[in-house]
Amino acid sequence: MKLLYFAWIRTNLGVSEELVDVPSEINDVRALLDWLINRGESYKAAFSDLNHIRVAVNQEYVDLDHAINTGDEIAFFPPVTGG
């Protein structure tokens, strides 16, 4: 699956997008976040407070219990500040 990061999540991680292969038991957003947090300190810091994280799967807002699949585009970003 393709992961995208925006705003301070992108700058803190030092990466804007990456392709990842996750174990098959990672089947929802919450499980993916738990998996990401174990990839290193920068991930742990970026995703420590989920109140400040918004998630979109295939460009639609979703909740943490939303199911994910291999071909999905999953974006993580802070609350938006446009307008």
Binding site: A7, A56, A75, P79, V80, T81, G82, G83
Partner: protein, 150 residues
């Protein structure tokens, strides 16, 4: 109609195009968002807007569809810029045309409230001491939710 662009826009030209030859329009409202200095006591030297290409357009089209279902509009327009902007620059234009002012005012207010909490844009302000991502504020979320508790 929605547009996401780096370039500036001409308000007069955009509003004129929106209602051209449509004589059912009796009221045209618009909202223009500008880059203001919000880094007190420092001064912003520039503002950079990042966005999520693809999702931005989808979200703006979605909220425009909702506005057109809720109010009877003859025309509507959202233009949102991204990239590097200076103090006083135009960021966003929302315009709604309707037979009467009431629907045009309400739809325009709804669109700007809603896009501020749903359109995936993020502001990075630059001052003399460095760059900071602007935090979202609860008041914006409250303003957007108000439209769905009426």
């Amino acid at each position: 109609m929605i547009r996401v662009q780096r370039e500036d826009f001409d308000i007069g030209l955009e509003l004129a195009k929106l209602t051209k030859n449509n004589y059912k329009v009796g009221g045209l409202t618009s909202f223009v968002g500008l880059v203001r200095d919000i880094a007190a006591p420092e001064t912003i030297s520039s503002m950079t807007l990042e966005h999520y290409p693809g999702m931005t357009e989808k979200q703006l089209e979605h909220i425009e569809t909702i506005a057109n279902q809720r109010w009877h509009l003859e025309a509507s327009l959202i233009i949102h810029r991204y990239g590097k902007l200076d103090l006083g620059d135009q960021i966003v234009l929302v315009a709604c045309a309707s037979a009467h002012r009431g629907e045009a005012f309400e739809a325009c207010h709804f669109l700007i409230d809603w896009l501020k909490t749903k359109a995936p844009f993020w502001k990075l302000e630059k001052t003399a001491s460095g760059s900071n991502w602007v935090d979202a504020i609860d008041a914006d979320e409250d303003a957007a939710n108000r439209w769905f508790s009426k």
